[in-house]
Symmetry: C2
Subunit: 184 residues, 2 copies
DNA sequence: CGTAGCATGTAAGTTGTTACATGATTCG
DNA sequence: CGAATCATGTAACAACTTACATGCTACG
């Protein structure tokens, strides 16, 4: 059996304050976006289900001249369930890397193709590092002295460690590939 | 639309030689296992579909006193499709980390819970590094001077870079957490 | 007047996971 | 004689993605 992790992610965000589905998407993008992503197609149905299960409470906000908002609040039951989930050990992640698959079977095409794949990855890593930097600045700015801030920074660190390691790998492999291409 | 990546993973492995579904599972575990995992529930139906699509050809092997084997061979059409796929740029991965989610919302429980999560992760990283070491040795031994060997080693490097970076992150965060716990 | 942002959702399709089901042989 | 390994598969479910569908406001 699987615990529906998307739902807990949403509940976690709702623990920071009441929000609409739209808000959740916006907030998730920069806060947990580098390790967890949800689309609207996942968010709206999940919220409905959470409401049915009594984990969240919904309230409709009618604002003159703007679209209606449905604001969700985490209930006491929801908070309890969330805290219980936080204590359960995380399942090991199932790895799935299309890029590595294409590197692994790279010998079936030419080394140039593999080089291109890795160059693209390198660019992506650099972009990722930029984004993490911006997010870190934003957390420092907006996070104030929120008690959970140290934990937020830890996940940011994770992203930075990974992106840097990937960047290094890319650079090293590009060197390798040059050697291979030359020796042919 | 999505290109079915599982199928290409299987086709890639079949490019190394004809194999049964069972063989594919065994080979995949140590060869691409650290970045790609398939279960039988995925393998057998995929092979059937690949056969229908003419990407692979099947042949039944009857061995006295042992279970029947269905051996699959990559067809010319299959190889062509595989090579075409190898040239298509890899989609950026969708990140999903239950661990980081539990760290991010760690403030909702106690710091000890987060510490436990990270300690478990650290152990997993060390185990992973051991396995990668063993795999590297195995590739060196069994890979001979296979032309694709350099590419195989690149994916192994990736695993090593990542596992080491994760290990480091865990250690650094455990130090951080000690500081947090003490200051309370 | 067009585009971007705010705001909510559904439907269909694909994938992936888990549990179930079977049965022979070999090794300790 | 029990466990592990070889060997193949199905059914049910859960999850995820994508495309579709709508409509208002603010801004340039």
């Amino acid at each position: 059996m699987k615990t529906n992790q998307s739902q807990f992610a949403l509940m976690g965000l709702l623990s920071l304050g009441e929000m609409s589905g739209y808000d959740l998407k916006q907030l998730s993008e920069w806060s947990v976006g580098h390790f967890w992503r949800e689309g609207y197609g996942q968010i709206y149905p999940s919220l409905k289900r959470l409401a049915v299960d009594g984990m969240v409470k919904k309230r409709t906000e009618r604002n003159a001249g703007r679209p209606e908002r449905i604001v969700y609040t985490l209930t006491a039951a929801g908070k309890k369930a969330l805290q219980a989930w936080l204590k359960v050990r995380a399942e090991p992640e199932v790895p799935r890397s299309e890029l590595l698959l294409k590197v692994f079977f790279g010998g079936l095409t030419d080394a140039d193709t593999v080089t291109e794949h890795i160059e693209r990855k390198l660019t992506a890593c650099e972009k990722e590092l930029e984004e993490l930097k911006a997010t870190r600045a934003r957390v420092e700015r907006e996070g104030g002295r929120h008690p959970q801030k140290p934990f937020w920074l830890m996940t940011l660190s994770y992203g930075e460690y990974m992106a840097k390691a990937q960047e290094e790998w890319c650079k090293d492999m590009l060197k390798e590939l040059k050697k291979i291409t030359k020796s042919r």
